[in-house]
Amino acid sequence: MKKILILGGGTGGTIVANRLAHALQPQDASIEVISDSPLHYYQPAQLYIPFGEEDPRKIARSERKLLNPQVKLRIDTVSEWIPDKQALHTARGDTISYDFLVIATGSVPCPEEVEGFVAGADHFYTPEAAYRLYHKLSEFEGGRLVVGVGGIPYKCPVAPLEFTLLAEAFLAHKGIRSKTEIVYTFPLNDVFNIQSVVPVVRELFEQRSIRAETFFNLESVDAEKKLVKSLEGTELPFDILVMTPPHKGAPFLRGHPMADNDGWVKTDRNTLRVNDLPNVWALGDTTNLPISKAGSTAHFEAPAIVEQIVAAIRREESPPGKATYNGHVTCFIDSGYGKATILDFDYDHPPAVYEPNEFRHLQKMAFNKLYWYLVPTAVI
């Protein structure tokens, strides 16, 4: 019997595990997920915590209950991966071997990487940080709000844009918009890195009087003087600073021969195989692919990996096209005031962007609730 090991109990790892359990009989293979938490977090909900629209205690559920009973769940942290021996060491001192390995350990926000960040800046990339920001925004009486991206790549590329637009609507609703200046910073020469999205964002920013500061690569935060500095020499004063922290891969992958120094795993853009290893795949935030680090990316990548593993176990050829990933990503942009738009694209087709509307907002809100029933369970 073959042994399939899946690292990570987030969206990608859970979908792969459940799809494999649907496709394989228990006598074909054992399927085991290793996760460092017994909880599965719906991370997109963290965006709404600072505005009091989500409760941080209600955005996680039991990973065990989301997994097919055929899948074994081990709560542990991988400390070392030895590809030559097809084995892993864990923090609890176990050594685990595998025939097939899927790496879905995601990305880790690293605010401590930037001087002064922890003392002076806020973010919404963990439930705890988002909740601290909720308190700060609740007590805010106006001033200068600076929102920005502190390093590329980062989780959910549109989230900082969404936060900026939602914050503008939140402050207007609170009656302090006229007393608040909003500045959005981005590391590149425009407000976003997908060109077709830029005109819509620029128009929204103009309508809402949000100033953009581009080519702003976060260098340090002076918590005492309330000043954020860029590598380019720009200094911005703030009353509240909301920065997307730099992100890295899982600690055991940083500097690993199969990954780069920041821990992004070298992954084939179509097969999702890791560095040409015949029995190892990566998906979701884990990869070094220049595509969105988002749950939908993992969602659309999972079938290609499952197809390859099932074909290898059954010694069959995969039908043409089913075992490859085409770069498909879908994401909503909530623009506040009860409106949203959606981006849908792949390697060959950049997103067409439409005016935000009420229907897309309702669709996003419904998806946030239906996620638990449809996505990790691999119903869709």
Binding site: P187, N193, N217, L231, G233
Partner: protein, 80 residues
């Protein structure tokens, strides 16, 4: 570009916008003042983006050179 000592170089061919620019920013961050760093890019957009960023950051674009068909090396001095 003979005679210029390159402290760090990254071959970013195969990655596309903003990959090569972010690679240049990463190298500059880790360099010492006075160092020259280099990035090789196969992405056409880098010809605009990388010089624009160097100009914005007030560093020095030491030069550019074609190192292979469709591949350009950008040299930047971290002068402050």
């Amino acid at each position: 570009m003979e005679g210029i000592q390159i402290a760090k170089e990254s071959d970013a061919r195969g990655s596309f916008c903003p990959g090569p620019l972010m690679e240049m920013i990463r190298l500059v961050r880790s360099a010492n003042v006075g160092d020259v760093v280099a990035v090789i890019s196969g992405d056409e957009g880098s010809k605009k983006d990388i010089p624009a960023w160097i100009n914005k950051a007030h560093y020095e674009l030491v030069g550019t050179e074609e190192v292979a068909p469709g591949a350009t090396r950008f040299l930047c001095r971290k002068n402050h």
